[in-house]
Assembly symmetry: C2
Homo-oligomer: 313 residues x 2
Amino acid sequence: MKTFNDQEIEQVYKMDEAIKDTYNTLNTLNEGLIKMEQRTVIPVEGDKVMLYMPCVDNKEKFSAVKIISIYPENAADGYPATQAVTVLTELEHGENVAVLSASYLTRLRTGAMTGIATDLLAKKDAKELGVIGTGGMAFEQALGVLEVRDIKTIRLYNRTLSKCDDFKTRLENFGVKADIKICEDVNELTRYSDIINTATNSTESVFDDKHVKDGAHINGLGSYMPEMREIHPGSIKRARHVIFDDVDGVIEEAGEFIHAVKVGDFKWEKAIGLNDALDQEFERDEKDITIFKSVGASYYDMSAAIGAYKKLV
Amino acid sequence: MKTFNDQEIEQVYKMDEAIKDTYNTLNTLNEGLIKMEQRTVIPVEGDKVMLYMPCVDNKEKFSAVKIISIYPENAADGYPATQAVTVLTELEHGENVAVLSASYLTRLRTGAMTGIATDLLAKKDAKELGVIGTGGMAFEQALGVLEVRDIKTIRLYNRTLSKCDDFKTRLENFGVKADIKICEDVNELTRYSDIINTATNSTESVFDDKHVKDGAHINGLGSYMPEMREIHPGSIKRARHVIFDDVDGVIEEAGEFIHAVKVGDFKWEKAIGLNDALDQEFERDEKDITIFKSVGASYYDMSAAIGAYKKLV
């Protein structure tokens, strides 16, 4: 049994490969060759939770289970709020072959699905990306967009403004050539952005639809619990196309959409799963806005873990 | 994240410790500090199956998930039919700390629970142990009995007689001092045995109750699927006390008991869970026979994994 840490994985497995693998996994899902069961949740104590997400890929011939601890108060003790590993089993003979740290892989697979959805929905000539929230998975979420559109300008906004500096440096060190601007006013960001990424822990909308540029595409990955909000209700209401990474998951977890359905601003039937969206054409007028909402699902984690493992061995 | 293989675990973690840890875990279960969810089963293809068994121990502050592949046809390719690992997460900060091979640990925890049940039910002066079926988990099942009773004679029976020689050698090499006899006739074994261990893949009874010694205690660990049989229906019918390792598990899986209930030879209410049996006195006349039936449960696997991990680090 092999073990791989984040550094080892990050060195060999990149966004372009993760996008290809995610695309292939979504096709495998459509072929009926991916089997999964609902994730298992075991409360530990207080608000601490253990999560287990198993999945089987009968095309790639691997199964994966992602084991996640969610400890919201961990930061006080210097630990991450979320810690995860994925165990891979090859399905030829059922041998448990590897355990991979799943921090980088979780961020990467989120960026990869964001890239696929952005490629389906965003204007072909989108040049300006706005990033609201610079923590957690925002970096790979941005990389996913950069992989599919020729972005010339990136605008950053964070409630704690100083964190934008770090994020800017990180993008530059990664080799991103776009012009990177830090915004003190989120309205300035949304006014210019063809693509808006949101990645926050907010419980209310993090921008105002009034100031969203015509024709913008929004990628939202915060609001992964019913009490959370991130995307503005006005944007949800007027979006021409909405793609969910996993329809069942979003219906169960995504706070701003659950709320929008409750108040009549949105109907679940309007959304389409990313797997069903592949290779479709999404017509849009110049002014239409579009949304991709993600909360994660076991087959995305499995896809990235298999992809990384194949590169590692 | 640390990984430990069977050899490393076997060197440091033995039956006496596993019995103590299992006993403590059953008490923790009774205190309401163990939380579990039903195991997740994902069929792969044909009769291949992936199993995931998660569990949380809020006293020891660990969670464990055992990941098991069941590949009945594996032997033809030189792989074991069952392969398993257990991933441990410490629950102070939710860090995934170790992945342990679970072959030896599964055998050991089965032996440990057998030891505890045998100590509760078997005659104090039991001196003769009979082992029916010498494959799989039979070795540690025998060690569990040897830990709690002063066994002077061990009788072995196996459908393939030559395998008894290997088993005898293995016991001797392990340092077992009892006199070890190989029986060509299973009736000879049961006629002398104060304790009968069964560990087979049989689909019919592997002994005849007519030839079971008065006052015998039977430990059955085969018959873990509804279509399997191992313990003779006559023994089930007349047993004075019956302990199950996990009542829900046995009701769902143990073929000979499911059948016995169906034909009216047994009532589920007659059995008691091992956790409820701890520290009880089980009165018995000289002639009464008793049964312990085990199919496994996630908290036994967790217990052994935590116990081994503490010795390893």
